[in-house]
């Protein structure tokens, strides 16, 4: 029945996407725009040319990683939404590693910097996992609060302790230097973060689908009582999924630093973490599907500029579409199992 299950998921997700697009069309129609023109611009802005495709894939790279921050713990039954904070912590950790390891040969320094970013994000979200297991603290609210704390701590650091006073436009941290920046994939304008994102999703998929560990995680997520009875180490599993999820988002922050900005600043806080939640839900927490859905979301985000230039729509238009998509998708969950025997 796997084929039928797959077809059901595809049909229901497509229906949700169409419903969201329909309501969004109504929105722009209220502004006196022709919805069909706006749809055409959405496609053109996201996928219409090589240039826009490059932009789409560049946007998709961090979203793949932050989506794993929600998708991985979700398999153990947790609803984690701390990708935004883990990304920020990962970015700051990467900068701190970079300015201290600048003397090492660049490949080694870069590897350690990315490791620092992943470790920072992993520990950050791991705190919520530990609080969940040993104190019974709701992980959804805890990770949301950790997002705000991470941003406040970063603002504090870039406003003083690690501030580069040469940057005058807005407070930013010391730069890691041109030598430690990784470039783009040859013959494209896409940075290497895309490769990191795809590899992370595939590795996670293999781990979850084809190993005993992944099976144990699914048991904990499916039925905690059953997991207790067969003696699974629930605490370790909860901790591991949150740490790994946070590490993925932390890696996204590391990549934003080494491939895009070169320093930490409020430019890291652009909603990749929240887009990741939506992607994880759209992909039904399946790491392989995350790749495709992140590209779709990246396309919507990338087309925001074109919507703004061509129709004068505020840049939040893409946020509205994403929100509608999220609601439609959750409502569509109710359709599962109506036409198919379990």
């Amino acid at each position: 029945m796997r084929g039928a299950a797959w077809a059901e998921t595809a049909a229901i997700s497509a229906a949700a996407l169409l419903a969201a697009l329909g309501v969004f069309g109504g929105f722009v129609a209220l502004r006196g725009l022709n919805p069909l023109d706006v749809y055409a611009a959405l496609v053109a802005g996201g996928f219409g040319s090589w240039f826009s495709l490059e932009e789409t894939l560049t946007q998709a790279a961090p979203i793949m990683l932050t989506a794993l921050c929600t998708a991985l713990p979700a398999r153990a039954g947790l609803l984690v939404i701390g990708g935004e904070g883990a990304l920020v912590v990962g970015g700051v950790a990467t900068v701190l590693a970079g300015v201290n390891l600048g003397g090492l040969p660049p490949p080694l320094a870069l590897a350690l910097m990315c490791l620092a970013g992943a470790l920072g994000g992993g520990l950050w979200v791991g705190v919520a996992g530990a609080l969940r297991h040993w104190r019974g603290v709701n992980e959804t609210i805890a990770t949301l609060l950790l997002n705000y704390i991470a941003i406040a701590v970063m603002n504090h650091l870039v406003a003083g302790p690690i501030r580069d006073f040469g940057q005058v436009l807005k407070p930013a941290s010391w730069a890691i230097g041109e030598r430690l920046m990784i470039g783009t994939i040859p013959a494209t304008g896409i940075h290497w973060g895309l490769v990191f994102g795809i590899v992370a999703c595939v590795v996670t998929w293999v781990l979850m689908r084809h190993t005993i560990v992944g099976f144990a995680v699914d048991v904990v997520g499916g039925n905690v009582r059953a997991a207790q009875i067969v003696g699974l180490p629930i605490g370790a599993i909860v901790l591991a999924t949150t740490v790994l999820g946070g590490a993925a988002a932390g890696l996204a922050g590391a990549i934003e630093v080494v491939a895009v900005h070169g320093f930490a600043s409020s430019s890291l806080v652009v909603g990749y973490g929240y887009a990741g939640i939506l992607v994880a839900f759209l992909a039904r927490q399946n790491p392989l599907a995350v790749i495709a859905v992140a590209v779709l979301l990246g396309g919507i985000t990338a087309s925001g500029g074109l919507l703004q230039r061509r129709f004068g729509l505020p840049d939040a238009a893409t946020l509205v579409l994403e929100g509608l998509l999220f609601i439609a998708l959750l409502a569509a969950n109710t359709l599962y199992g109506r036409w198919r025997r379990a």
């Binding site: 609080l131 709701n138 704390i149 505020p314 946020l319 929100g323 609601i327």
Partner: protein, 307 residues
């Protein structure tokens, strides 16, 4: 401003700030208390708050009447509550996830529709000057109290009475504590939860209009910094008791006012770190009030966050 009162000045600023800043917390937490008492969590109140702030400001600007703005903000909040309730009443839909979706949708929609209202200035709500007896300007400023704050206190008392002492309150609590019993008694779970979520959304919308129409008293995209989310955590610490909601809101207001108060007496270092104070406080209180062994004390048993 001036340093002659020194630490006292900071204290007064914190108290005054607490009163000013606590009002949105109070409204959102009272609304969420009512919603959660009916057995459902609305995590989307942050989005409702921002929508309320935007719509209240826009209406006040367009009509010249801030109180009409407050009312419309509440109505739009109720609309968001209705949307949440309708989507959640479908089978196999998780109310926490819907809340996250509405949080993102509400903020996105507010930024989308609110773009034209960032520049113009709307009439603000007036305050009651309760510090007329004092010669100190700081105390006078600290005791400028908005009518919504007073109304919030009355509301907390009223909600406490309704939940504890009336037939309606009993119905809401039955639906939230034992859905099977409520169904057996012939009450509509869907109806009660829809009304409770709409009322909660109304209050969150009003709380949002306070942000844009009184303090800070402007509309922009950085207006709310998670007050709606903190208010939801606050409800857990207040043990779903409206009176406790009031005291905890004041505490949160004080934590939020700490950074600006210290800045006003010239202590500016670590300003951004003090901005983290309310979130750290919330997390700390959450850790303190949770327990690994049993569900949260006083929690409605049908609630998904306490299981």
């Amino acid at each position: 401003m001036n340093g002659e009162l020194g630490a006292w000045g900071a204290m007064i600023a914190v108290v005054g700030g607490a009163i000013r800043v606590s009002t949105p917390y109070l409204y959102v937490s009272l609304g969420e208390t009512l919603t959660e008492k009916s057995g459902r969590v609305n995590l989307g109140l942050e989005g409702t708050l921002v929508m309320g702030a935007m719509s209240g400001y826009a209406i006040a600007y367009l009509t010249g009447s801030p109180w009409l703005g407050v009312l419309v903000a509440g109505a739009i909040g109720a609309g968001f509550g209705l949307l949440h309730a309708v989507v959640c009443s479908l089978p196999r839909v998780n109310d926490i996830a819907v809340g996250i979706a509405l949080f993102l949708f509400g903020t996105g929609l507010a930024f989308f529709l609110g773009k034209p209202y960032i520049q113009p200035s709307a009439p603000r709500l007036h305050h009651l000057a309760l510090g007329w007896w004092s010669a100190s300007p700081q105390i006078r400023v600290a005791l400028e109290i908005n009518a919504l704050f007073v109304a919030g206190i009355v509301l907390a008392l009223a909600l406490r009475f309704i939940l504890a002492g009336t037939r309606w309150g009993l119905v809401v609590r039955t639906v939230g504590d034992n859905a099977d019993a409520a169904r057996a008694l012939g009450y509509s779970l869907r109806g009660v939860r829809t009304l409770a979520t709409m009322a909660g959304g109304f209050l969150a919308g009003v709380g949002g209009s306070f942000l844009s129409l009184y303090y800070p008293g402007t509309w922009n995209e950085g207006l709310s910094s998670g007050q709606g989310l903190m208010a939801i955590a606050l409800v857990i610490f207040a043990r779903w008791n409206p009176i406790h909601c009031f005291w905890v809101s004041l505490l949160f207001g004080a934590a939020t006012a700490l950074g600006p108060a210290l800045q006003s007496i010239g202590y500016t270092s670590n300003y951004y770190l003090f901005n983290a104070a309310p979130y750290v406080l919330t997390l700390g209180l959450l850790v303190w009030s949770s327990s690994p062994r049993h569900a949260l004390l006083g929690a409605p048993s049908e609630l998904t966050i306490s299981k």
